[in-house]
Symmetry: D2
Subunit: 423 residues, 4 copies
C-alpha cells in the first residue's frame, strides 16, 4: 500500500458511501480497525477501554441498535463489533519501544443528518460514491478526517523504526453535538499524552491556507429538558391536567431571561421544542433541546446552573415531573504557543500552503477542546488547527464536497509534526 493521494481518495470515498451518525459508527469503526490491524504495528483499543460510559452524551439506544444492525448488514467484522461493547470509536497505539514523548492525534468519524443531493453535478454522484443512506451524509467532512488519520497510521507503519516514544491515534465518535469527547477524555486513554493535535478541514479556509491558531473556542453545554404532566380533557376538566406544554413555554421565556454575565459573552438557544398530544387534551409531555455557551468554562457553567435551576422551579410551579440531560459539551481552550509555532513552520514547508493565519476568532464550539484541555490539565500541550480546502457548499449542506487534494496536505502536516516531535 502506497501512501499517496490515490490511496487516500480510495479511503475517503469508501467512508463517504457509508455515513453513520454519532454513536452508531459501527461499520466505520470496524473498517478503521481492519485497516489498522493490517498495518501490523498498532494495538487497537475499543469499547470501554476508550469510552467511560458515565460521560457518554446524547446516545439513544434506538440509534445504537439501528447502527449495529446496519453494520452487520454491510458486512462489518464481527470481531470488532463484539469488542466495541456497544460503544463506537477506537484508539490505535503505536509504541516505538524507545523512550520519547507521547503524541495523541484525534480524528472524528461521524456523519450528519443530511440527505445528499442527487444532482448529477455533485462529484460523489458523478463518481459513484454518494451516501447509500438518505438522511445521512458526510456533509461536514469527517470522512476526510478518518482518511487523514489512516494516512498518518500508514506513514507510521512505513517509518516506525525512525520514531521514538508513542503515538495514539484517536478515532472519535459523535463529534456532532459535541457528544463523544467527554467519554474518551474520562476513560483516561490520553492522560499520558505530552502533545495533542486535532484539526478540521475547510470551515472558513480555502485551499492554500492553514489557520494555525484559531482562538475563542466557546464553552458550551447541550441540554435536553423533558417534562411529564398529566393529560385531561381540555373542555371538561382542565384543572385535572398538569400542563407540560405550558411548563415548557414558561421555561423558554425564563431561559431567555437568564441574566447576561458581566465578565464575558453568553448564549442561550432553545433550538427545538415539541409538546402535546392533541388539540383538545391538556398536554402531558414536552421536550426542549437547548444549548448554552459562555466565553469561558466558568461562564458556561453559570449558564448551565441557571438552566437547571429554572427547570427545577418550573417543575414546582406547574407540578410536572422533569428530567434534564446533558447531551453534549465542549470547553474553551487556548492553543499552546510551542505547537502554534510548529504548525506555522510545518505549514510553510508545504508547497501548496501559501497563507498561515495565526489569529482567527473561531467563535464556535469543538468537541476536541475537551480532549485538548484534558491533556493540558495533565501537563501536556495542545493545538487545534484548520486545514484549508476549497468546498462546493457550506458544511452540513446537501451539496457539500471538498478539494480531495488536501487529504495529502493534511497527512503531511500531521506526519511532519510527529517527525519533529518524535524523531
Amino acid at each position: 500500500m502506497n501512501l499517496d493521494l490515490n490511496q487516500l481518495v480510495k479511503w475517503r470515498r469508501e467512508f463517504h458511501r457509508f455515513p453513520e451518525i454519532g454513536w452508531s459508527e459501527f461499520w466505520t469503526t470496524s473498517r478503521i480497525a481492519d485497516y489498522l490491524e493490517d498495518l501490523g504495528c498498532f494495538e487497537i483499543f475499543l469499547g470501554k477501554q476508550i469510552i467511560n460510559p458515565d460521560f457518554v452524551r446524547g446516545r439513544k439506544q434506538a440509534v445504537v441498535d439501528k447502527g449495529l444492525a446496519n453494520a452487520k448488514a454491510y458486512g462489518a467484522n464481527e470481531k470488532w463489533l463484539k469488542k466495541m461493547e456497544g460503544y463506537t470509536g477506537c484508539v490505535a497505539l503505536f509504541d516505538s519501544g524507545k523512550p520519547g514523548k507521547t503524541i495523541a492525534l484525534r480524528f472524528d468519524i461521524d456523519c450528519v443528518n443530511v440527505t445528499e443531493t442527487r444532482s448529477p453535478e455533485h462529484i460523489p454522484n458523478k463518481e459513484g460514491f454518494a451516501s447509500i443512506n438518505d438522511g445521512f451524509m458526510h456533509a461536514c467532512g469527517h470522512d476526510s478526517h478518518i482518511t487523514i488519520g489512516l494516512g498518518v497510521a500508514l506513514w507510521i507503519a512505513q517509518n516506525k523504526d525512525k520514531l521514538t516514544g508513542k503515538v495514539k491515534i484517536v478515532f472519535q465518535p459523535a463529534e456532532e453535538g459535541v457528544r463523544g469527547a467527554a467519554a474518551i477524555a474520562q476513560s483516561g486513554i490520553i492522560d499520558d499524552a505530552d502533545y495533542f493535535a486535532s484539526s478540521h478541514i475547510s470551515f472558513c479556509a480555502n485551499t492554500g491556507t492553514v489557520i494555525a491558531n484559531p482562538r475563542n473556542f466557546l464553552s458550551t453545554t447541550k441540554i435536553d429538558i423533558r417534562y411529564k404532566g398529566k393529560p385531561a380533557h381540555a373542555g371538561a376538566a382542565p384543572h385535572l391536567g398538569r400542563n407540560a406544554l405550558l411548563a415548557a413555554a414558561h421555561t423558554v421565556t425564563q431561559l431567555h431571561g437568564i441574566a447576561r454575565h458581566g465578565e464575558g459573552m453568553t448564549r442561550i438557544n432553545v433550538g427545538v421544542l415539541k409538546a402535546g398530544e392533541g388539540r383538545n387534551v391538556i398536554p402531558s409531555s414536552a421536550e426542549l433541546q437547548l444549548e448554552v455557551r459562555g466565553e469561558n468554562k466558568a461562564i458556561n457553567e453559570y449558564m448551565t446552573e441557571q438552566v437547571m435551576q429554572i427547570a427545577k422551579g418550573i417543575s414546582i410551579s406547574f407540578d410536572v415531573a422533569y428530567e434534564t440531560e446533558i447531551v453534549g459539551e465542549a470547553v474553551d481552550m487556548n492553543n499552546d504557543i510551542e505547537l502554534i509555532k510548529l504548525i506555522e513552520e510545518i505549514s510553510l514547508e508545504q508547497p501548496q500552503i501559501n497563507n498561515v493565519n495565526s489569529d482567527y476568532a473561531f467563535n464556535a464550539s469543538e468537541d476536541a477542546t475537551i480532549l485538548g484541555r484534558r491533556v493540558q490539565e495533565h501537563g501536556g500541550k495542545a493545538i487545534y488547527f484548520i486545514l484549508g480546502a476549497d468546498r462546493t457548499a457550506g458544511h452540513h449542506e446537501a451539496e457539500f464536497d471538498f478539494d480531495e487534494n488536501q487529504l495529502l496536505t493534511g497527512v503531511n502536516i500531521y506526519t511532519s509534526l510527529v517527525q519533529k516531535l518524535l524523531a
Copy 2:
C-alpha cells in the same frame, strides 16, 4: 334488500374495514352514493353542491390526495369521484312530491387516527372486518352513523308512497375536529329544513338509554397559528435570527392569560406545539394547535378575537411572519322542546329502551350544532340526541367496539321521527 339487523351489520362492517380520515372519505362517499342510487328514489348531491369551499376547515391537500388515490385503489366508482370535485360527503334528497315539511338528518362519516387493536378478542378481528389501514380506525363509531343513515334511506325507499314533504339525508365529512359542518351549512343545502336531527352512538349512555336532551354544548373554535422567522447561527449571530420558537412560547403564555369572561365559562388549550429545526440554530418556524371554547357563541367569539389579537401582537414584538387558520368550529345549541318531546315519546315506544334522560350536561362540542343552529336561524327546529349502546372501550381507543344491535334501534328512532313529522 330487507331492512333488518343483518343488512345493517353488513353495511357497518364494510365501512368499518375502510376507515377514512376527515376530508379523505372518497371511498366512503362513493359507496354511500352507490347504495343510495340503487334505492332509486334519491337525488344525490356532491362536491360544491353541498360544500362551500370558503368555509372548509382543517383540510390538508396531502390528505385529500392520499384519500383519492386510496379510493381509486379500493375500486371507488369514478363517476362519484368526479362529481365530488375533491370534496367528500354527500346529501341525498327524497322528495315525496306532496306538500309537507322538510326534514334534514345528519350522519357523520369520518374515522379517527387510531390504530385498531390486533387483539384476537376484539370482535372486528374475530369476525374479520378490522381496519385495513394501520393508523386509521372507526374508533368513534361513525361507521354506525353511516349505517343508520343508509337504513333510514332504505326505509324511505320502502315507504315512499306514505310520506309527504322532503327528507334530506346529510352524510357529513370531517366531524372530528369539528371541521366539516360549517362548509355544508354555508352551502345552503339545508336552509329549507323545518326540522333537523342528529345523534351520536354510545358516548355516556349504555344500551337501553336514550338521552333526549343533552344540553351545554360548548361553542368552540380550533385554530392553528404558524410563525415564520429567520434562522441564524445561535453562537455567532443570534441577533440576525427572528426566533419563531420564542414567539410561540410567548404566545402560549399570553394565550393562557386571556381574561376569564364575566358572563360565562371559557376555555383555552394549546394542545400541540412544534418549533425549531436544530439545537444550535435560532428557530425559524413554529406551529401551535389550539382551541378555545365558550359557554355560548358570543363568549367563544371573544376568546377567538383575543387569540387573533395576540398572534398579531406577537408577530410584531418578535418580527416574525404569522398566519392563523381556523381549522374547526362548533357552536352551542339548545334543542327545541317539540323535538325533545318527540324523541322522548319515540324512545319510550322502543321495547329495548328503558331509560330516557332529558337533562344531561354535554359539556363538549359537536359539529352538528352548526347545522342545527343554521336550521333554527332559518326558522326550523333542531335536536341532537344520544343513542345508548354498550361499548368495549372508550371512544377513540384502539379497543373500541359497540353493541351492533343498537343499529336497528337507531334506524327505528329516525324512521319513527320521519313518520310522525311527514306522514
Copy 3:
C-alpha cells in the same frame, strides 16, 4: 333614649364624622362600647376574647398605631382601649336568662380609603357631619350598619323581659378586603349560635326593596407575594443580581395561566405590582397584591394552592427569597330556607317595603359568609340579605350617601327577626 329615626340619625352622623379604616377602629369600637354599656343589659367582649390573632388578615402595625393614637386624640374611653389589646371590634351579649335559641347578628364598622367630596350639595357637608379625615370616609355605608346594630341593642334593652335565649351583636372590624371575619369566627365567640343574620345597605337595591336571598357569593382569597433578591450593577455585573422584578413578572404570567376549573367559575387578578429600586440596578424587591376567586370554597382553594405553588417555583427558578401572606378571605354560603322565608315575611310586613326579591346572583364576595358558614358548620342557620336604600352615588365613591330613613327599616327587620325567633 327613644328608639326612633331621630336617634338613629344622630348615631349615624356621629360615626360618619370619624371614619376609621380596617383594624384601626379604636374610636368607633370604644364609642359602641360606651353606648352598649349605658344600655345596662349587655356583657361586652373585646380584644382576644373575640379575635383569634392567628387568623387576623391584612393588619399593618402602622395602621393600628395610627388608629390608636387618633382614638386617644378624639377622646376614646381608655378603659375600652386597654381591653381591646390592640384588636378592634366588639361583641355584645344579651342573655335573657331563659332557655331559648341563640342569635348572632353581625354589623361591620370600618370605612374605606376615599376622600369625601367637598361639594356643598353633599348632605354630610350641608349638615356638617362629613369625615374629619381626608382619605377616609364611610363611603360603603358601614356607618349605617353600626347604627342599626345599636338600634337593635336599644330595642333589646327596652324589650328584654319579653325575650328568651341569647343575642350576640357582633360589631366586626375590617370587612373591606374581607379581612376581619376569620379572626372572629376562629375565636369561637359565635359557635353556639342557632341563627346568624347579617346584611348590607343599598348595593343593588333601592328604597322599597329587600333582597331576601342573594346567592352566588364567591369564595375569595386575597394574597400578597413578596420577593427579595439581590441588587447588582445592571451594566457591570448583572449576573451577580437576583432579579425580584423579573421573578414578579414571570409570576404574573404564570398566575394568569392557572388552568380554569372544570366544575365552576374561577378568577385571578394581580391588582398591584411594585418592584425595583432604580433604572440601573438589578431589582432586588417586588410585591404583588392579588386575589383569586372561585364559585365555591373548593374551587377557591384550588386557585389558592396554585398561587402558592407558583410562588414557590418562581423563588427557585430565580433564586429569590419569597413570602406569601393571606390578607383576606371569604367563602361562598347558601342562605337557609327557614331564614329566607322569615326575612321575606318580615319584609312584607314593613309598610315601606314593596318588593321582596328572593333570587339574586350576588357574584361578589362578603366577609360575613365566613361567620355564616361557621354557624352552619356548627348546626345553625344563616342568612345574609340586602336592605334597599336609595343612594346618591356608587359605593366607595366620594359622593356616596344613602336614604337615612332606611335605618329604621333596618332596625325593624332585625328586631322582628329577634322577636319571631326568641319571643
Copy 4:
C-alpha cells in the same frame, strides 16, 4: 480673587450646601453665572441658546417648578432665572479675539437623590457645609466639577492676554441618568470646537492617579414605557378590562429575551415597574423604567429598536395604549490619541500625580460622550479622563466625600491643556 485651594474649597462648599437634581439646577446655574459675570471676560449663554428642547431627556415639569421656586427662595439672581427660560445649565464663552483653536470644556452640575449622612465624622457636617435638603446631595462629586470649571474660568480671566482662539466652558445640567448632554449637543453650541475635554473625579482612581484613557464607554438608552388599559371589576367583568399590569409583565419577560448580539456585549434592565390601582380591579395603568446598553452605538440601537418593537407588539396583544419615552442616552467614544498624549504629559508634570494609566476599561456610561462624539463628528478631537482623588465612601453613598486638595490638581490639568493648545 486668588486662584488657590482656599478659593476652590470655598466654592465647592457653597455648591455642596445647595444640591439640585437634574433639570432643577436654577440656583446653581445662577450662582455660576454670577461668578462668571464678575470675571468680566465671558459671554454667558443660557436657556434655549444652549439647550435644544427637542432633545431634552427625562425632565419632569414638577421637578423644574420646585427647583425654580427653591432658587428664588435661596435668593437666586432673577436676571439669570429669566434668561434660563426654564432650562438650567450655562455656557461661558471666552474669545481672545486672536485667531486660534476653539476648546470646549464640560463640567456637570447636578446632584443625586441621596440624603447626606448626619454622622458627625462626615466632614461636611463637621465643617458645616452639608446639604440643606434631605433627599438631595452632591454625592457623586459634581460640586467638584463646578468648582474646577470656575477655577479654569478664573485662570482664563487672569491670563486672557496670553491666549489665542476661544474657550467654551460648558456647565451641563442633568448628567445623572445621562439626560442633559443631548440637548446641549443638539443646540450646536460646541459644533465649532476643535477640542473637547471632560473628566470625572475619583471613581476608580485615588489621589495621585490620573486615568488618561478610559475606554469601553457603553452606549446606553434609558427608556420609560407606559401602558394605559381599562379598569374593570375583577370578579364580575374581567373581560371588560384591558390589563396594563399583565401587559407590563409580558413586556418584562419579552425584553429580557431580546437576543444577545453576535458582535458585542448587550445589556437590558427593567429597573422599576409600577402597575395597578387596587387588588380587585383589572389594572389600567403601568410604567416600566428600563435601560439598554451596547458595546457600541450600533449594538445599543439594535437593543433600543427591539424594545420599541416589543412595546408596540404588546400594545396590540393586550389592546392597551402605550407610549415610550427616551429619558436618557449616552454613546461610546474613543479618546483621541493627541489628547491622550497631552493629558499623560500634563499629568506627569503635576507633582502630586505619580501614576498615569492609559488603558482602563470604563465599562459604564457617561453623558459627556455625546458631546465628545459631536465634536469628533465635526472634525474635532475629544477626551474624557479621570482625576484621581481619595474618597470616604462610594459615589452615590450618603457618606461620600473626596480629597479637596485635588480641586487644584484638576484646575491645573485643564489650564495646562488650554495653555498648550491655545498659547
